[in-house]
């Protein structure tokens, strides 16, 4: 799905989390929102997901105004920073949650839900863990379960807030490839937040560099390296 962000602004009290920002994300792209702490990455992602609403500006999905759509109507697969798995539910129940929450007419049969959950567990390469609780999983496993849970609702896009933030270096590398693979097999427009420039450059088709609520530059990794638009971008990419 093609996402258009048109002059979005957001303030919290007196801090301007987002100066008016505009951004066009082509359908099927894997995009990194890159920037230092407090630059407004999470705020932008949450506005796309419908968890936060902008003071001004519009969001367009495939050319249709989506600014007023509720979280539920957005159908965005959201992976939270600490995964936010439901701690009182098993992995299976976590992944099935979105399907069971559908209105009756659209809700799959019980067997169909089970079949889909099993398939998603295979997709994230953890076919055996359906019966476990989140507390019994490693950090990397939790991240993949969160991804599967987001994918279960057949989302229109994937939004991930620092999906690799809480993991050690080795697991990070593995899961990067995992995300790339899942992006390529599903073809979903995917936006992930990171403050690790290496991660953004290696993984993303398109990198959006942010600073202090502004978008500094948007471009393919190679272009950003070759032609940084500002001293900030150059310094941030070499850091």
């Amino acid at each position: 799905m093609h996402i258009e962000i048109d002059e979005i602004a957001k303030t919290f009290g007196r801090t301007a989390a987002l100066q008016p920002v505009s951004l066009s994300i082509p359908s099927g792209a894997l995009v990194a929102l890159l920037g230092p702490s407090g630059s407004g990455k999470t705020t932008l992602l949450r506005i796309l997901g419908g968890l936060e609403f902008p003071e001004s500006g519009r969001v367009l999905f495939d050319g249709h105004d989506a600014t007023g759509l509720t979280v539920q109507e957005r159908r965005a697969g959201f992976v939270f920073q600490n995964y936010a798995l439901f701690r009182h539910m098993t992995v299976f129940e976590n992944i099935a949650y979105g399907l069971k929450a559908r209105p009756r007419a659209l809700r799959p049969e019980k067997e169909e839900i089970a079949r889909r959950v099993t398939k998603l567990l295979e997709l994230i390469r953890l076919p055996e863990i359906g019966g476990r609780y989140p507390a019994q999983l490693s950090g990397g496993q939790r991240q993949r379960v969160a991804l599967a849970r987001a994918l279960a609702i057949e989302p229109r896009m994937l939004l991930l807030d620092e999906p690799f933030g809480a993991l050690d270096a080795k697991v990070r590398k593995e899961l990067r490839h995992g995300l790339r693979e899942i992006h390529d097999t599903t073809g979903l427009t995917t936006i992930f937040v990171t403050h690790d420039q290496e991660e953004a450059m290696e993984l993303a088709d398109l990198v959006v560099v942010m600073s202090m609520g502004r978008i500094e530059q948007v471009g393919r990794p190679a272009d950003l390296r070759a032609r940084p638009a500002s001293a900030f971008v150059r310094e941030f990419l070499t850091a």
């Binding site: 959201f78 920073q81 936010a84 798995l85 439901f86 701690r87 949650y97 929450a101």
Partner: protein, 294 residues
């Protein structure tokens, strides 16, 4: 060959005392004092209550409980508890939710207000209800005209009980809700759940033990409340006398066995809640403490 030095007994290591560690004698003294106090203040009265109740045999005690007046008091107390505890739970949930999830002007005031019933004397609370709803006020007049008297009737007793028990639920769930944050709830919403579905499948299960704990505390208090209820109920024998009030009236009339039988019943109910509460603390300590790790 053995070296004699190796066989020498090791020197006793010098014992260092932690800064917070008290001398053993003081420690034992303090612990002993606590036990003595507990024995005098809690255990002895409890034994006396049961002793007095059973002083003329279990039969006499049971007969006293079967008296119409005692019966009416027990029924009233159960009814008041059954009505006020759910109200307390709902108000507590609403307050806990509002404070934990939203920022709004006057939040600090609301947090203070929750604790108000802890610091205001129940008698004062009861008097306030009488002043507000009493027969000589416009509101009270109107309510009596509608056939819905509040003071000296069930609604007043329930209101007074809700006032007194209100903080228990709110206080228990507030820290748990704050600690758990919004993330799981937001996840439910992004997965398509409605607000109600989110509440029943995510919010409520996460706070269920804290909620139950608060409800238990509120129940114990609701059954035992005397001061506020004494003022609003008017102590009408067999009509608005709850168990604690009936106990007082019987005792004042030197009906010792009857008074103590009711008191023993109330104490037993309190002991049951205490046991349930302890079991809950024991089994779900992690879910009750606000510092639980994810």
């Amino acid at each position: 060959m053995f070296d004699a030095a190796h066989l020498a007994p090791p020197r006793p290591a010098r014992r260092f005392r932690a800064a917070t560690e008290e001398p053993a004698a003081l420690r034992r003294g303090l612990i002993g004092l606590v036990f003595v106090l507990l024995a005098v203040l809690l255990f002895a009265p409890l034994v006396t209550v049961f002793g007095e109740a059973l002083s003329q045999g279990a039969g006499a005690a049971l007969t006293a409980l079967a008296e119409p007046e005692a019966h009416a008091a027990i029924r009233l107390t159960l009814l008041v508890t059954a009505l006020s505890v759910p109200l307390t739970a709902v108000f507590g949930l609403a307050a806990g939710w509002a404070i934990a999830r939203f920022d709004f002007p006057g939040k600090a005031v609301l947090i203070t207000l929750i604790d108000l019933p802890f610091s205001v004397s129940p008698v004062v609370a009861g008097l306030c209800l009488v002043l507000l709803f009493g027969a000589n006020t416009t509101l009270g007049d109107w309510l009596v005209g509608q056939g819905m008297p509040v003071v000296f009737a069930l609604p007043g007793i329930v209101l007074a009980t809700v006032f007194v028990t209100f903080p228990f639920v709110a206080r228990e769930i507030l820290p748990v809700m704050v600690e758990q944050g919004r993330a799981e709830e937001e996840a439910a919403l992004t997965l398509g759940a409605s607000g109600w579905r989110m509440f029943f499948t995510v919010t409520l299960p996460n706070i269920r033990w804290a909620l139950l704990y608060g409800v238990l505390l509120a129940t114990a208090r609701a059954m035992g409340e005397f001061g506020a209820v004494a003022v609003v109920s008017g102590k009408i024998r067999g009509v608005t006398a709850t168990v604690p009030i009936a106990i007082e009236m019987l005792y004042n009339e030197y009906l010792t066995v009857a008074a103590f039988s009711l008191a023993a019943l109330l104490a037993s109910l309190a002991l049951v809640t205490l046991a349930l509460k302890t079991a809950l603390e024991w089994r779900h300590a992690d879910a009750l403490s606000a510092n639980r790790r994810a």
